[in-house]
Amino acid sequence: MSRLRESLIELIRRTSAEIPDDVQTAILRGLEQEKEGTIAKSALEIIERNIGLAKSKSQPICQDTGSILFYIDCPVGLNQIEFGREAREAVKEATKLGYLRQNSVDSITGKNDGTNLGPGAPSLHFHQHTSEDTSVRLVLKGGGCENVGAQFSLPNTKLDANRDLDGCRKVILEAVHQAQGRGCGPGVLGVCIGGDRASGYEFSKREFLRDLDDRNPDPKLDELEQDILKTANELGIGPMGFGGKTTLLGVKIGAANRVPASYFVSVSYMCWAFRRDGATLANDGEITGWLY
């Protein structure tokens, strides 16, 4: 087995079994906030116990492997065809090892061949850069939270949302309200203002690569992020939609240019079982460091 494939299997194992520190810290903050004796508190206690168990047993935090999203930053010379082949083999092997559930279904026949491979699965996003370093990030995004994502076209009369940041605020909060606990909250929002229907969702997912505690360099977006986080946590939806103070753990918003005729706001919801990890790789594929 190639060194690269071994490294990618380890990346998958870590991503599937170990929640990133920033997410765990946010969950612990939520746990402290919830009132003793409530079902919200008890839900977060089970979540916290689950995080510990998954890590110690090296088993999936959540059984829903979800969509397997690789983000690769690479130098110009990297052979992307070869990398893709190794990534697919790593997914197949990680599935055999139980790090991933057999989770990929042929949309026409309904067959699940148990490999997690097929058209569009896993999804690989390559980005060339001028640096000589290769890094690979992996996000496993469960289906329950993917299903509560929403895309809005502004203006939206029903929500009184115009083509401005206040309009964005209204539709994003609407998405939180519509999701209730169904996305396995407390969740994290990745939002893209602008783009087209495809790129909007794609950009919104990239926001999940950001550290939960970072601040948006754009002061307007930073203000919007903080406002939505605070307001969402005042709605009383709570963990799993059981009621309580912890509805969201974070909000990350980016922007992409749009065409004059369109103004999309794309909202992706990430569950509390926020599986994201990344590694830098040497030329032979060996892991040289972890990114989270």
Binding site: I46, Q63, L173, G238, F242, A273
Partner: protein, 192 residues
């Protein structure tokens, strides 16, 4: 208040449960999700050995592996989103005598009505808590329709012990989900 539940469950025991009650489930639980619901609703028959009368159906697609001795071992088993089964659940509940449905995210009016008429509850497990919940599964007794539906969609028969869940829809017409939706809608209206 925490209640213990184990199948077969009587209608009387179910009627005692109220929204917000925490339960610990022990005994037999069968899994069933999208493919199973559609199959049963289309007139499919339960395979021999699957008895849901007074029983508990779990919306779950577990990760199950065979160990070195050829025994099934559940490595991850949290609930899946239940609302997808809304078109089918009420009818299936009544037809097969199901008293409890475990899932996540809650269900809507059709199921709530069926819970009231038939005497059943919706039990919300903690979504994503695959390891805590897998630890509550002490044995895989059997699996049905594995070839037809694949592992996540098959009917797994589990023996569980102290599996934690919350009653979020009861047999008296109450739904925590409806309640929280309405309350959060009001809170949002004040902050728009």
């Amino acid at each position: 208040m925490t209640h213990s539940l184990s199948s077969p469950i009587s209608e009387e025991a179910i009627r005692e449960l109220k929204v917000g009650d925490q339960v610990l489930i022990s005994g037999t639980v069968f899994t069933g999700r999208d493919a199973v619901h559609k199959y049963l609703h289309d007139g499919g028959e339960l395979p021999d050995g699957v008895n849901l009368d007074g029983g508990i159906l779990y919306h779950c697609g577990p990760v199950v592996l065979k160990d070195d001795n050829g025994e099934w071992k559940v490595t991850a088993a949290g609930p899946t989103t239940s609302i997808r089964e809304e078109p089918y659940q009420g009818d299936i509940m009544k037809q097969f005598g199901i008293r409890g449905v475990i899932g996540k995210g809650g269900m809507a009016d059709k199921t709530l009505t069926a819970c009231k008429e038939h005497g059943a509850v919706y039990l919300h497990a903690i979504g994503g808590a695959a390891q805590v919940l897998a630890e509550c599964i002490i044995r895989v007794r059997n699996v049905y329709m594995l070839d037809e539906f694949g592992s996540p969609e098959a009917i797994w028969e589990f023996e569980v012990r102290d599996f934690p869940a919350v009653v979020t829809m009861d047999s008296h017409g109450e739904s925590l989900h409806k309640d929280i939706f309405a309350r959060s809608e009001d809170a949002l209206a004040q902050r728009r």
